[in-house]
């Protein structure tokens, strides 16, 4: 019993809130690229907030249910259909055994979360059901779902249909995106002028944007402060002696195209980092399509912590409505 995958979509994976605690061993934190959307999807169907959902990117899967279930789709504006009938996003709905959930073309955002009452019940590995595909860990046999898979589903919590996250409480980028970041780590490696035009320039999300990182293009190349490269660093001025890469850190290989590391990132290496995108804005990156215009905005630690509290409050407001 569970869900039969008729068409998997582009790279649909099982994700929960991830597996923090192993990054120092090279195992990324993983989990949903838009954690707020995953929390909301689970709340809508009466699951624990960290239950495993399907994360689909840019296009939806086609799924046949073999048992009755309550389902909710949050995150990207990816219009769901049950047996061809259009349904609302951010709203709980009933799907009966034998019915097929499919999706229309993406209208906005990048990643949609499909929560099913009871959660996707694949084995827990290192504390999480999240799929880390390049490490063949977690999820469904360590990979994106494929046609012919049957996904196990837990016990139905049986909440009502029609429960909805109010529109004002949803979060989705519209128009150019501002990503707040704290300069630091290796900021001193670039010139003052380069530091200024990094924030002045309009960047665009490159097509190379995935669960490991988001690459940006379109700004001017960064000039480096001349130095004799230390022992252990490569010869390129953007190289450093190998260091830890934090989640959200911004590396700029060759000084040309910034890459923001995301949930499935490598944990260390030899590129300098300009700074780190604040945790409150990481979900937003998960909803950015290629070619989205982006500006980086400098903030300090107090502003970053305030923004984190605002996001926690926003989630609490959703709980107040739904629980």
């Amino acid at each position: 019993m569970g869900i039969n995958v008729i068409n998997p979509g582009l790279a649909t994976t099982i994700q929960d809130l991830g597996r923090p605690g192993y990054y120092h061993l090279g195992i990324p934190i993983g989990g949903a690229m838009d954690r707020f959307a995953l929390h909301c999807a689970n709340l809508l169907v009466g699951n624990d907030e960290g239950a495993a959902c399907l994360e689909c990117v840019f296009m939806g899967p086609e799924l046949e249910f073999t048992q009755d279930a309550t389902v909710a789709i949050t995150g990207a504006d990816l219009p769901p259909k049950v047996d061809g009938e259009p349904q609302d996003t951010w709203t709980s709905l009933k799907v009966k055994a034998g019915q097929v959930l499919s999706f229309d073309f993406l209208k906005g955002g990048a990643r949609a979360y499909i929560a099913v009452s009871g959660g996707i019940d694949v084995p827990v590995q290192l504390g999480s059901r999240s799929t880390y595909a390049i490490g063949a860990l977690g999820g469904y046999e360590g990979r994106a779902i494929a046609a012919g898979d049957t996904l196990p589903v837990g016990q139905d919590a049986g909440v009502a249909e029609g429960r909805s996250v109010p529109a004002a409480m949803r979060r989705m980028p519209t128009g150019p995106v501002e990503l707040r970041m704290i300069p630091g780590l290796y900021w001193h490696r670039i010139t003052k002028e380069a530091g200024e035009h990094f924030f002045d320039d309009m960047w665009k999300v490159a097509p190379e944007c995935d669960r490991m990182g988001y690459r940006f293009r379109g700004g001017r190349p960064l000039d480096f402060v001349p130095r004799e490269q230390p022992f252990g660093a490569g010869s390129d001025p953007s190289n450093i002696v190998d260091a830890c890469y934090p989640y959200g850190s911004i590396q700029v290989p060759g000084g040309t195209e910034p890459i923001v590391l995301h949930r499935d990132a490598v944990s260390g290496g030899g590129y300098f980092m300009l700074g780190t995108v604040i945790s409150a804005d990481m979900d937003l990156i998960g909803q950015m399509q290629p070619h989205t215009e982006t500006k980086f905005v400098s903030v300090d630690m107090d502003q970053a912590l305030n923004a984190r509290h605002e996001r926690a409050d926003a989630l609490q407001k959703v709980r107040d409505v739904l629980v």
Partner: protein, 79 residues
């Protein structure tokens, strides 16, 4: 009857399987259901865009290497 083929996802549209290869289809070419008419690249993945019916390509609506949105028409077919 004129029918459009839509991009299923956002990315970059290619009319060729590789830079040194000929295009999949020219305007006026016959297509059968399931024929690949182009690729959309996103996240280092190339997704094949296929025709959903038999007919002829009337016209391509986007150029090779153009950025495309999900649901954007890529070509017109004559049934």
């Amino acid at each position: 009857m004129s029918i459009e083929i839509f991009s299923p996802l956002p990315g970059t549209f290619y009319r060729k399987p590789a830079p040194d290869q000929p295009v999949y289809k020219e305007s006026g070419d016959a297509v059968a259901k399931g024929d690949v008419i182009g690729l959309v690249e996103v996240m280092k993945t190339f997704y094949e865009v296929k025709s959903e019916l038999d007919g002829h390509i009337d016209v391509f609506l986007v150029e090779n290497e153009d950025p495309v949105q999900a649901g954007q028409p890529l070509a017109k077919l004559k049934g």
